[in-house]
Protein backbone atom coordinates (compact mmCIF):
# COMPACT_ATOMS: atom_id res chain seq x y z
CA UNK A 1 0.00 0.00 0.00
CA UNK A 2 1.87 3.04 -1.14
CA UNK A 3 5.39 4.02 -0.39
CA UNK A 4 6.19 4.42 3.21
CA UNK A 5 8.68 7.06 4.07
CA UNK A 6 9.76 5.35 7.18
CA UNK A 7 11.01 1.94 8.15
CA UNK A 8 8.29 -0.08 9.87
CA UNK A 9 10.71 -1.43 12.35
CA UNK A 10 12.12 1.74 13.77
CA UNK A 11 10.44 3.87 16.34
CA UNK A 12 11.48 7.49 16.77
CA UNK A 13 13.93 8.15 19.51
CA UNK A 14 14.41 4.48 20.30
CA UNK A 15 17.68 4.21 18.45
CA UNK A 16 19.02 7.27 20.22
CA UNK A 17 18.06 6.05 23.67
CA UNK A 18 19.51 2.64 22.93
CA UNK A 19 22.84 4.05 21.83
CA UNK A 20 22.88 6.46 24.74
CA UNK A 21 22.34 3.48 27.03
CA UNK A 22 25.25 1.64 25.51
CA UNK A 23 27.41 4.72 25.86
CA UNK A 24 26.56 5.21 29.53
CA UNK A 25 27.02 1.51 30.11
CA UNK A 26 30.51 1.47 28.71
CA UNK A 27 31.75 4.78 30.09
CA UNK A 28 32.61 3.44 33.56
CA UNK A 29 34.00 0.33 31.94
CA UNK A 30 36.38 2.41 29.86
CA UNK A 31 37.55 4.24 32.98
CA UNK A 32 38.02 0.86 34.58
CA UNK A 33 40.20 -0.39 31.78
CA UNK A 34 42.19 2.82 31.58
CA UNK A 35 43.07 2.69 35.26
CA UNK A 36 44.26 -0.87 34.91
CA UNK A 37 47.20 0.71 33.14
CA UNK A 38 47.84 3.24 35.90
CA UNK A 39 51.43 3.38 37.05
CA UNK A 40 50.41 4.73 40.43
CA UNK A 41 48.57 2.63 42.97
CA UNK A 42 45.36 4.57 43.05
CA UNK A 43 42.22 3.69 41.18
CA UNK A 44 41.29 7.34 40.86
CA UNK A 45 44.51 9.23 40.34
CA UNK A 46 46.25 8.79 37.06
CA UNK A 47 49.99 8.82 37.31
CA UNK A 48 51.17 7.43 34.03
CA UNK A 49 51.06 4.40 31.83
CA UNK A 50 52.36 1.09 33.05
CA UNK A 51 51.72 -2.62 32.88
CA UNK A 52 52.80 -3.29 36.43
CA UNK A 53 49.38 -4.22 37.71
CA UNK A 54 48.98 -6.91 35.10
CA UNK A 55 52.32 -8.20 36.29
CA UNK A 56 51.17 -8.14 39.89
CA UNK A 57 47.99 -9.96 38.99
CA UNK A 58 49.99 -12.53 37.09
CA UNK A 59 52.12 -13.13 40.15
CA UNK A 60 49.24 -13.14 42.56
CA UNK A 61 48.27 -16.78 42.88
CA UNK A 62 45.49 -16.13 45.31
CA UNK A 63 43.59 -13.82 43.03
CA UNK A 64 44.05 -16.04 40.00
CA UNK A 65 42.76 -19.02 41.89
CA UNK A 66 39.80 -17.01 43.10
CA UNK A 67 39.02 -15.78 39.59
CA UNK A 68 39.29 -19.26 38.13
CA UNK A 69 37.05 -20.66 40.79
CA UNK A 70 34.46 -17.97 40.12
CA UNK A 71 34.36 -18.81 36.45
CA UNK A 72 34.19 -22.53 37.05
CA UNK A 73 31.30 -22.22 39.44
CA UNK A 74 29.53 -19.78 37.15
CA UNK A 75 29.81 -22.04 34.10
CA UNK A 76 28.51 -25.10 35.91
CA UNK A 77 25.80 -23.28 37.78
CA UNK A 78 24.60 -21.35 34.73
CA UNK A 79 24.49 -24.48 32.59
CA UNK A 80 22.65 -26.45 35.23
CA UNK A 81 20.28 -23.61 35.91
CA UNK A 82 19.51 -23.05 32.24
CA UNK A 83 18.75 -26.72 31.65
CA UNK A 84 16.49 -26.93 34.69
CA UNK A 85 14.87 -23.63 33.82
CA UNK A 86 14.17 -24.64 30.23
CA UNK A 87 12.51 -27.83 31.33
CA UNK A 88 10.52 -26.03 33.97
CA UNK A 89 9.48 -23.32 31.54
CA UNK A 90 8.20 -25.91 29.12
CA UNK A 91 6.09 -27.40 31.85
CA UNK A 92 4.61 -24.17 33.12
CA UNK A 93 4.06 -22.01 30.05
CA UNK A 94 1.40 -22.05 27.40
CA UNK A 95 -0.80 -24.27 29.48
CA UNK A 96 -4.13 -23.78 31.05
CA UNK A 97 -3.84 -23.26 34.77
CA UNK A 98 -3.63 -26.64 36.39
CA UNK A 99 -3.41 -27.52 40.05
CA UNK A 100 0.13 -27.06 41.13
CA UNK A 101 1.02 -24.47 38.54
CA UNK A 102 0.94 -21.59 40.97
CA UNK A 103 2.91 -23.64 43.45
CA UNK A 104 5.59 -24.43 40.88
CA UNK A 105 5.79 -20.83 39.84
CA UNK A 106 6.22 -19.67 43.41
CA UNK A 107 8.91 -22.27 44.12
CA UNK A 108 10.88 -21.53 40.98
CA UNK A 109 10.98 -17.83 41.70
CA UNK A 110 11.47 -18.13 45.43
CA UNK A 111 15.24 -17.53 45.43
CA UNK A 112 14.56 -14.14 43.87
CA UNK A 113 12.23 -13.09 46.59
CA UNK A 114 14.33 -13.56 49.66
CA UNK A 115 17.21 -11.22 50.48
CA UNK A 116 20.47 -13.00 49.88
CA UNK A 117 21.69 -12.69 53.44
CA UNK A 118 18.84 -14.84 54.67
CA UNK A 119 19.47 -17.60 52.16
CA UNK A 120 23.17 -17.29 52.94
CA UNK A 121 22.78 -17.78 56.66
CA UNK A 122 20.22 -20.53 56.20
CA UNK A 123 22.51 -22.38 53.81
CA UNK A 124 25.38 -21.95 56.23
CA UNK A 125 23.39 -23.67 58.93
CA UNK A 126 22.30 -26.57 56.74
CA UNK A 127 25.56 -27.11 54.92
CA UNK A 128 27.63 -26.87 58.08
CA UNK A 129 25.72 -29.74 59.58
CA UNK A 130 26.25 -31.76 56.42
CA UNK A 131 29.94 -30.87 56.34
CA UNK A 132 30.40 -32.08 59.88
CA UNK A 133 28.41 -35.20 59.17
CA UNK A 134 30.08 -36.25 55.93
CA UNK A 135 33.45 -34.56 56.23
CA UNK A 136 33.17 -33.44 52.62
CA UNK A 137 33.69 -29.78 52.03
CA UNK A 138 34.24 -29.39 48.33
CA UNK A 139 32.86 -27.02 45.77
CA UNK A 140 29.59 -28.91 45.39
CA UNK A 141 27.90 -26.82 48.08
CA UNK A 142 28.76 -23.62 46.28
CA UNK A 143 27.72 -25.00 42.90
CA UNK A 144 24.43 -26.23 44.33
CA UNK A 145 23.70 -22.91 46.03
CA UNK A 146 24.57 -20.95 42.90
CA UNK A 147 22.51 -23.16 40.63
CA UNK A 148 19.53 -22.73 42.90
CA UNK A 149 19.52 -18.96 42.85
CA UNK A 150 20.37 -18.80 39.15
CA UNK A 151 17.33 -20.82 38.12
CA UNK A 152 14.77 -17.99 38.35
CA UNK A 153 17.11 -15.70 36.43
CA UNK A 154 17.31 -18.18 33.60
CA UNK A 155 13.65 -19.15 33.85
CA UNK A 156 12.05 -15.76 33.35
CA UNK A 157 13.61 -14.86 29.99
CA UNK A 158 12.97 -18.35 28.66
CA UNK A 159 9.41 -18.24 29.80
CA UNK A 160 8.92 -14.80 28.28
CA UNK A 161 10.21 -16.14 25.00
CA UNK A 162 8.07 -19.24 25.17
CA UNK A 163 4.93 -17.28 25.85
CA UNK A 164 5.26 -15.38 22.61
CA UNK A 165 5.83 -18.50 20.58
CA UNK A 166 3.17 -19.92 18.37
CA UNK A 167 2.37 -23.44 19.45
CA UNK A 168 0.75 -24.06 16.10
CA UNK A 169 4.13 -24.94 14.65
CA UNK A 170 4.56 -27.84 17.01
CA UNK A 171 1.03 -28.97 16.33
CA UNK A 172 1.82 -28.90 12.63
CA UNK A 173 4.90 -30.99 13.26
CA UNK A 174 2.81 -33.50 15.18
CA UNK A 175 0.43 -33.65 12.27
CA UNK A 176 3.37 -34.54 10.09
CA UNK A 177 4.12 -37.49 12.36
CA UNK A 178 7.16 -36.00 14.03
CA UNK A 179 7.85 -37.49 17.43
CA UNK A 180 7.59 -35.02 20.31
CA UNK A 181 11.32 -35.19 20.90
CA UNK A 182 12.03 -34.45 17.24
CA UNK A 183 9.54 -31.61 17.25
CA UNK A 184 11.23 -30.24 20.31
CA UNK A 185 14.73 -30.55 18.94
CA UNK A 186 14.08 -29.22 15.46
CA UNK A 187 11.37 -26.68 16.04
CA UNK A 188 10.92 -25.57 19.61
CA UNK A 189 14.53 -25.49 20.65
CA UNK A 190 15.82 -23.39 17.75
CA UNK A 191 12.92 -20.98 18.20
CA UNK A 192 13.61 -20.84 21.88
CA UNK A 193 17.30 -20.18 21.35
CA UNK A 194 17.33 -16.43 21.98
CA UNK A 195 15.53 -16.98 25.25
CA UNK A 196 17.89 -19.72 26.31
CA UNK A 197 20.93 -17.68 25.47
CA UNK A 198 19.51 -14.70 27.31
CA UNK A 199 18.78 -16.91 30.29
CA UNK A 200 22.21 -18.49 30.30
CA UNK A 201 24.00 -15.15 30.07
CA UNK A 202 21.95 -13.77 32.88
CA UNK A 203 22.53 -16.78 35.11
CA UNK A 204 26.24 -16.64 34.33
CA UNK A 205 26.79 -13.03 35.32
CA UNK A 206 24.58 -13.40 38.37
CA UNK A 207 26.65 -16.31 39.59
CA UNK A 208 29.90 -14.54 38.79
CA UNK A 209 28.86 -11.56 40.85
CA UNK A 210 27.48 -13.30 43.88
CA UNK A 211 29.19 -12.32 47.07
CA UNK A 212 26.88 -12.74 50.05
CA UNK A 213 25.87 -16.37 49.63
CA UNK A 214 29.36 -17.40 48.59
CA UNK A 215 30.87 -15.60 51.59
CA UNK A 216 28.86 -17.70 53.99
CA UNK A 217 28.87 -21.04 52.22
CA UNK A 218 32.54 -21.16 51.28
CA UNK A 219 34.90 -23.43 53.14
CA UNK A 220 38.59 -23.00 53.74
CA UNK A 221 40.52 -21.93 50.67
CA UNK A 222 37.46 -21.41 48.52
CA UNK A 223 37.71 -17.75 47.74
CA UNK A 224 35.91 -16.46 44.71
CA UNK A 225 36.75 -13.20 43.04
CA UNK A 226 33.92 -11.20 44.66
CA UNK A 227 34.69 -12.48 48.15
CA UNK A 228 38.37 -11.75 47.61
CA UNK A 229 37.45 -8.20 46.67
CA UNK A 230 35.09 -7.86 49.58
CA UNK A 231 38.01 -8.62 51.84
CA UNK A 232 39.98 -5.86 50.15
CA UNK A 233 37.16 -3.36 50.41
CA UNK A 234 37.87 -2.43 53.99
CA UNK A 235 41.50 -1.84 53.39
CA UNK A 236 42.43 -0.51 50.01
CA UNK A 237 41.73 -1.33 46.43
CA UNK A 238 44.59 -1.18 43.98
CA UNK A 239 44.51 -1.20 40.20
CA UNK A 240 45.34 -4.89 40.40
CA UNK A 241 41.61 -5.49 40.54
CA UNK A 242 41.19 -3.28 37.47
CA UNK A 243 43.76 -5.40 35.71
CA UNK A 244 41.87 -8.56 36.52
CA UNK A 245 38.58 -7.02 35.46
CA UNK A 246 40.19 -5.95 32.19
CA UNK A 247 41.34 -9.50 31.59
CA UNK A 248 37.80 -10.74 32.16
CA UNK A 249 36.43 -8.17 29.78
CA UNK A 250 39.01 -9.01 27.14
CA UNK A 251 38.11 -12.65 27.55
CA UNK A 252 34.42 -11.99 27.09
CA UNK A 253 35.12 -9.88 24.02
CA UNK A 254 37.04 -12.83 22.62
CA UNK A 255 34.06 -15.09 23.15
CA UNK A 256 31.77 -12.64 21.42
CA UNK A 257 34.09 -12.39 18.43
CA UNK A 258 34.38 -16.16 18.21
CA UNK A 259 30.63 -16.45 18.39
CA UNK A 260 30.24 -13.86 15.70
CA UNK A 261 32.43 -15.76 13.31
CA UNK A 262 30.78 -19.12 13.94
CA UNK A 263 27.28 -17.73 13.52
CA UNK A 264 28.42 -15.97 10.37
CA UNK A 265 29.41 -19.33 8.96
CA UNK A 266 26.08 -20.85 9.88
CA UNK A 267 24.02 -18.27 8.09
CA UNK A 268 26.07 -18.47 4.90
Amino acid sequence: MGNRHFNVRTLPGFGFVALLTFFLLYLPICMLVIYAFNSGDSIVQWEGFSLRWFETALNNEAVQEAAGRSVLIAVIAATGATICATMAALATTRVRPYPGLAFKYAVINQPLMVPEIVTAVALLIVFSKIKVWTGYSGLTYLVLAHTAFCIPFAYLPIRARLETMDSGLEAAAADLYATPWKAFRLITLPLLRPGIIAGFMLAFVISLDDVVITEFVKSGGQETLPTYMLGQLRRSITPEINAIATVFLAFSVLIVTAFFFTSRKKSE
Binding site: P28, K104, V107, E116, L123, L156, A160, A171, V211, L249
Partner: protein, 313 residues
Amino acid sequence: MTTKTDATNTTNTLPAYQKREALNRWLLSLPALSIIMLAAIGPLLIMLMYSFMVKGDYGGVKLWEFSFDGWMNVFLQRDIFDDTLGFADAHLTIFWRSLKLSILTTLTALAFGFPTAYFIATRPKHTREIWVFLITIPFWANLLIRTFAIQEVIRNEGIINNTLLAVGIIDSPIQMLYTDGAILFGMVYVYLPLMVLPLYASMEKLDFRLVEAGYDLYATRWKVLKRIILPMVKPGMIAGCILVFIPSLGAYVTPRLLGGGKNMMLGNLIESQFGAGRNWPLGSAISITLMLVVMFALLFYVRNVTRSGAGHG
Protein backbone atom coordinates in the same frame (compact mmCIF):
# COMPACT_ATOMS: atom_id res chain seq x y z
CA MET B 1 3.99 -38.40 24.74
CA THR B 2 3.54 -34.77 23.89
CA THR B 3 4.98 -32.25 26.24
CA LYS B 4 2.81 -29.27 25.56
CA THR B 5 -0.93 -28.92 25.57
CA ASP B 6 -2.64 -27.06 22.82
CA ALA B 7 -5.14 -25.09 24.79
CA THR B 8 -7.50 -24.60 21.91
CA ASN B 9 -7.89 -28.31 21.40
CA THR B 10 -10.46 -29.51 23.85
CA THR B 11 -12.10 -32.25 21.87
CA ASN B 12 -9.98 -35.30 22.55
CA THR B 13 -8.89 -35.10 26.19
CA LEU B 14 -9.18 -38.58 27.62
CA PRO B 15 -8.52 -38.90 31.36
CA ALA B 16 -5.51 -41.16 30.79
CA TYR B 17 -4.05 -38.68 28.32
CA GLN B 18 -4.50 -35.89 30.81
CA LYS B 19 -2.85 -37.90 33.53
CA ARG B 20 0.17 -38.53 31.33
CA GLU B 21 0.27 -34.83 30.55
CA ALA B 22 0.34 -33.95 34.21
CA LEU B 23 3.02 -36.54 34.91
CA ASN B 24 5.20 -35.21 32.12
CA ARG B 25 4.87 -31.71 33.40
CA TRP B 26 5.90 -32.76 36.86
CA LEU B 27 8.87 -34.69 35.52
CA LEU B 28 10.00 -31.73 33.49
CA SER B 29 9.84 -29.39 36.42
CA LEU B 30 11.40 -31.88 38.80
CA PRO B 31 15.07 -30.88 38.47
CA ALA B 32 14.32 -27.20 38.98
CA LEU B 33 11.98 -27.85 41.85
CA SER B 34 14.22 -30.25 43.68
CA ILE B 35 17.34 -28.11 43.47
CA ILE B 36 15.47 -25.12 44.75
CA MET B 37 13.75 -27.06 47.49
CA LEU B 38 17.09 -28.36 48.61
CA ALA B 39 19.21 -25.26 48.41
CA ALA B 40 16.75 -22.45 48.84
CA ILE B 41 13.43 -23.40 50.37
CA GLY B 42 14.56 -26.05 52.82
CA PRO B 43 17.04 -23.71 54.46
CA LEU B 44 14.41 -21.01 54.39
CA LEU B 45 12.07 -23.15 56.43
CA ILE B 46 14.79 -23.37 59.01
CA MET B 47 14.97 -19.59 59.10
CA LEU B 48 11.22 -19.54 59.53
CA MET B 49 11.61 -21.74 62.56
CA TYR B 50 14.34 -19.48 63.86
CA SER B 51 12.07 -16.47 63.56
CA PHE B 52 9.92 -17.98 66.26
CA MET B 53 12.75 -18.57 68.68
CA VAL B 54 14.51 -16.53 71.28
CA LYS B 55 17.60 -14.81 70.02
CA GLY B 56 20.95 -16.00 71.27
CA ASP B 57 23.19 -13.67 73.25
CA TYR B 58 25.91 -13.62 70.69
CA GLY B 59 24.03 -14.28 67.52
CA GLY B 60 22.17 -17.37 66.53
CA VAL B 61 19.16 -18.52 68.49
CA LYS B 62 18.48 -20.39 71.67
CA LEU B 63 17.24 -23.52 70.04
CA TRP B 64 13.78 -24.65 71.00
CA GLU B 65 13.08 -21.64 73.18
CA PHE B 66 10.11 -20.03 71.53
CA SER B 67 8.94 -16.47 71.41
CA PHE B 68 6.98 -14.12 69.20
CA ASP B 69 9.43 -11.28 69.80
CA GLY B 70 11.01 -11.65 66.41
CA TRP B 71 7.74 -11.10 64.60
CA MET B 72 6.44 -8.47 66.94
CA ASN B 73 9.56 -6.36 66.55
CA VAL B 74 9.03 -6.15 62.83
CA PHE B 75 6.03 -3.90 63.34
CA LEU B 76 6.07 -2.80 66.92
CA GLN B 77 8.92 -1.78 69.08
CA ARG B 78 9.46 -0.38 72.50
CA ASP B 79 10.90 3.08 72.33
CA ILE B 80 14.57 2.90 73.13
CA PHE B 81 14.51 5.39 75.96
CA ASP B 82 11.12 5.39 77.55
CA ASP B 83 9.97 1.86 76.85
CA THR B 84 6.61 2.80 75.40
CA LEU B 85 5.27 0.48 72.77
CA GLY B 86 4.90 2.06 69.39
CA PHE B 87 5.24 1.35 65.72
CA ALA B 88 8.71 0.44 64.63
CA ASP B 89 9.05 3.58 62.57
CA ALA B 90 12.72 2.98 61.93
CA HIS B 91 11.70 -0.14 60.04
CA LEU B 92 8.94 1.66 58.20
CA THR B 93 11.22 4.50 57.13
CA ILE B 94 13.76 2.05 55.85
CA PHE B 95 11.19 -0.09 54.08
CA TRP B 96 9.63 2.92 52.40
CA ARG B 97 13.01 4.21 51.28
CA SER B 98 13.90 0.86 49.70
CA LEU B 99 10.50 0.55 48.10
CA LYS B 100 10.74 4.00 46.51
CA LEU B 101 14.19 3.24 45.18
CA SER B 102 13.11 -0.10 43.75
CA ILE B 103 10.10 1.37 41.99
CA LEU B 104 12.17 4.20 40.55
CA THR B 105 14.86 1.79 39.47
CA THR B 106 12.36 -0.47 37.76
CA LEU B 107 10.69 2.37 35.90
CA THR B 108 13.98 3.93 34.82
CA ALA B 109 15.32 0.56 33.76
CA LEU B 110 12.17 0.07 31.71
CA ALA B 111 12.50 3.52 30.16
CA PHE B 112 16.04 2.80 29.02
CA GLY B 113 15.71 -0.93 28.60
CA PHE B 114 12.69 -0.99 26.34
CA PRO B 115 14.23 1.05 23.52
CA THR B 116 17.49 -0.80 23.95
CA ALA B 117 15.87 -4.21 23.71
CA TYR B 118 13.78 -3.06 20.78
CA PHE B 119 16.88 -1.73 19.06
CA ILE B 120 18.67 -5.04 19.50
CA ALA B 121 15.66 -7.02 18.34
CA THR B 122 15.48 -5.03 15.13
CA ARG B 123 19.11 -5.42 14.15
CA PRO B 124 19.99 -7.69 11.23
CA LYS B 125 19.52 -11.27 12.24
CA HIS B 126 23.09 -12.44 12.46
CA THR B 127 24.27 -9.51 14.53
CA ARG B 128 21.53 -9.68 17.11
CA GLU B 129 23.24 -12.04 19.45
CA ILE B 130 26.38 -9.93 19.31
CA TRP B 131 24.42 -7.00 20.64
CA VAL B 132 23.05 -9.19 23.40
CA PHE B 133 26.57 -10.11 24.37
CA LEU B 134 27.56 -6.47 24.20
CA ILE B 135 24.95 -5.66 26.80
CA THR B 136 26.24 -8.34 29.12
CA ILE B 137 29.98 -7.83 28.67
CA PRO B 138 30.21 -5.02 31.24
CA PHE B 139 28.75 -7.42 33.74
CA TRP B 140 31.63 -9.81 33.43
CA ALA B 141 33.48 -7.28 35.53
CA ASN B 142 32.72 -7.66 39.18
CA LEU B 143 29.93 -5.62 40.82
CA LEU B 144 32.18 -3.94 43.34
CA ILE B 145 34.68 -2.81 40.77
CA ARG B 146 31.93 -1.62 38.44
CA THR B 147 30.49 0.50 41.22
CA PHE B 148 33.91 1.96 41.93
CA ALA B 149 34.18 2.71 38.23
CA ILE B 150 30.89 4.61 38.40
CA GLN B 151 32.23 6.55 41.36
CA GLU B 152 35.23 7.41 39.26
CA VAL B 153 33.05 8.76 36.48
CA ILE B 154 30.76 10.94 38.58
CA ARG B 155 32.95 12.25 41.36
CA ASN B 156 34.04 15.88 41.58
CA GLU B 157 37.22 15.35 39.62
CA GLY B 158 35.73 12.63 37.49
CA ILE B 159 35.40 12.62 33.77
CA ILE B 160 31.91 14.04 33.54
CA ASN B 161 32.72 17.05 35.68
CA ASN B 162 36.07 17.56 33.99
CA THR B 163 34.49 17.52 30.55
CA LEU B 164 31.75 19.93 31.55
CA LEU B 165 34.29 22.25 33.14
CA ALA B 166 36.58 22.11 30.14
CA VAL B 167 33.76 22.91 27.73
CA GLY B 168 32.66 25.72 29.99
CA ILE B 169 29.10 24.63 30.71
CA ILE B 170 29.65 24.83 34.44
CA ASP B 171 31.94 26.84 36.67
CA SER B 172 32.55 24.43 39.50
CA PRO B 173 32.08 20.70 39.79
CA ILE B 174 28.56 19.43 40.32
CA GLN B 175 28.31 17.21 43.37
CA MET B 176 27.01 14.00 41.88
CA LEU B 177 28.57 11.39 44.08
CA TYR B 178 26.73 10.58 47.29
CA THR B 179 23.43 11.88 45.98
CA ASP B 180 20.20 10.05 45.39
CA GLY B 181 20.74 10.47 41.67
CA ALA B 182 23.99 8.59 41.93
CA ILE B 183 22.27 5.73 43.70
CA LEU B 184 19.59 5.55 41.04
CA PHE B 185 22.18 5.59 38.28
CA GLY B 186 24.13 2.83 39.99
CA MET B 187 21.06 0.69 40.59
CA VAL B 188 19.82 0.99 37.02
CA TYR B 189 23.34 0.24 35.85
CA VAL B 190 23.45 -2.94 37.86
CA TYR B 191 19.98 -4.19 36.97
CA LEU B 192 19.77 -3.17 33.33
CA PRO B 193 20.58 -6.55 31.77
CA LEU B 194 17.84 -8.13 33.85
CA MET B 195 15.39 -5.83 32.14
CA VAL B 196 16.86 -5.91 28.66
CA LEU B 197 17.35 -9.66 28.26
CA PRO B 198 13.80 -10.84 28.95
CA LEU B 199 12.45 -7.95 26.88
CA TYR B 200 14.71 -8.88 24.03
CA ALA B 201 13.72 -12.52 24.28
CA SER B 202 10.08 -11.69 23.72
CA MET B 203 10.62 -8.83 21.25
CA GLU B 204 12.81 -10.87 19.01
CA LYS B 205 9.82 -12.91 18.01
CA LEU B 206 7.76 -9.85 17.21
CA ASP B 207 5.82 -10.35 14.06
CA PHE B 208 6.41 -7.16 12.16
CA ARG B 209 3.75 -8.01 9.67
CA LEU B 210 1.25 -7.10 12.33
CA VAL B 211 3.05 -3.83 12.88
CA GLU B 212 3.01 -3.19 9.19
CA ALA B 213 -0.67 -3.98 9.09
CA GLY B 214 -1.20 -1.38 11.76
CA TYR B 215 0.55 1.27 9.71
CA ASP B 216 -1.41 0.19 6.66
CA LEU B 217 -4.52 1.02 8.59
CA TYR B 218 -3.22 4.53 9.10
CA ALA B 219 -2.40 4.13 12.76
CA THR B 220 0.10 6.56 14.22
CA ARG B 221 3.40 5.26 15.54
CA TRP B 222 2.26 5.88 19.06
CA LYS B 223 -0.90 3.88 18.52
CA VAL B 224 1.01 1.07 16.91
CA LEU B 225 3.30 1.00 19.91
CA LYS B 226 0.50 1.04 22.39
CA ARG B 227 -1.98 -1.31 20.75
CA ILE B 228 0.16 -3.74 18.83
CA ILE B 229 3.71 -3.93 20.09
CA LEU B 230 3.18 -3.52 23.81
CA PRO B 231 0.61 -6.27 24.23
CA MET B 232 2.81 -8.66 22.29
CA VAL B 233 5.84 -8.05 24.43
CA LYS B 234 3.96 -7.89 27.68
CA PRO B 235 5.40 -11.17 29.02
CA GLY B 236 8.93 -9.86 28.50
CA MET B 237 8.10 -6.57 30.13
CA ILE B 238 6.63 -8.23 33.16
CA ALA B 239 9.52 -10.65 33.46
CA GLY B 240 11.95 -7.77 33.27
CA CYS B 241 10.12 -5.76 35.89
CA ILE B 242 10.02 -8.70 38.25
CA LEU B 243 13.71 -9.40 37.78
CA VAL B 244 14.59 -5.81 38.56
CA PHE B 245 12.10 -4.89 41.22
CA ILE B 246 12.40 -7.82 43.57
CA PRO B 247 16.15 -8.19 43.96
CA SER B 248 16.54 -4.42 44.10
CA LEU B 249 14.44 -4.37 47.25
CA GLY B 250 17.19 -6.20 49.08
CA ALA B 251 20.08 -4.28 47.49
CA TYR B 252 22.48 -2.52 49.77
CA VAL B 253 26.00 -2.62 48.36
CA THR B 254 25.32 -0.20 45.51
CA PRO B 255 23.26 2.27 47.56
CA ARG B 256 25.98 2.27 50.18
CA LEU B 257 28.89 2.81 47.84
CA LEU B 258 27.21 5.52 45.80
CA GLY B 259 25.01 7.13 48.42
CA GLY B 260 27.58 7.28 51.17
CA GLY B 261 25.99 4.75 53.45
CA LYS B 262 24.40 7.26 55.76
CA ASN B 263 20.93 5.90 55.24
CA MET B 264 20.05 2.29 55.79
CA MET B 265 18.37 0.25 53.15
CA LEU B 266 16.23 -2.79 53.77
CA GLY B 267 19.14 -5.03 52.84
CA ASN B 268 21.40 -3.28 55.38
CA LEU B 269 18.75 -3.60 58.06
CA ILE B 270 18.34 -7.31 57.52
CA GLU B 271 22.07 -7.93 57.18
CA SER B 272 22.81 -6.10 60.41
CA GLN B 273 20.41 -8.35 62.29
CA PHE B 274 22.56 -11.29 61.30
CA GLY B 275 25.71 -9.39 62.07
CA ALA B 276 26.40 -6.86 64.76
CA GLY B 277 22.70 -6.61 65.59
CA ARG B 278 22.65 -10.23 66.73
CA ASN B 279 18.95 -10.58 66.27
CA TRP B 280 18.41 -13.51 63.94
CA PRO B 281 14.73 -13.93 64.73
CA LEU B 282 14.05 -10.34 63.75
CA GLY B 283 16.16 -10.65 60.62
CA SER B 284 14.30 -13.79 59.60
CA ALA B 285 10.92 -12.26 60.36
CA ILE B 286 11.58 -9.14 58.30
CA SER B 287 12.83 -11.19 55.37
CA ILE B 288 9.92 -13.56 55.41
CA THR B 289 7.47 -10.67 55.60
CA LEU B 290 9.15 -9.18 52.57
CA MET B 291 9.02 -12.48 50.78
CA LEU B 292 5.33 -13.02 51.47
CA VAL B 293 4.42 -9.58 50.18
CA VAL B 294 6.34 -10.20 47.01
CA MET B 295 5.05 -13.73 46.58
CA PHE B 296 1.44 -12.62 46.65
CA ALA B 297 2.12 -10.04 43.97
CA LEU B 298 3.75 -12.70 41.82
CA LEU B 299 0.94 -15.20 42.25
CA PHE B 300 -1.47 -12.50 41.22
CA TYR B 301 0.54 -12.14 38.02
CA VAL B 302 0.51 -15.84 37.30
CA ARG B 303 -3.23 -16.09 37.73
CA ASN B 304 -3.85 -13.25 35.32
CA VAL B 305 -1.28 -13.83 32.64
CA THR B 306 -1.70 -17.56 32.22
CA ARG B 307 -5.44 -17.25 32.06
CA SER B 308 -5.35 -14.78 29.22
CA GLY B 309 -2.20 -15.91 27.53
CA ALA B 310 -2.61 -19.64 27.36
CA GLY B 311 -1.60 -20.90 23.96
CA HIS B 312 -1.49 -18.46 21.14
CA GLY B 313 -3.33 -20.13 18.37
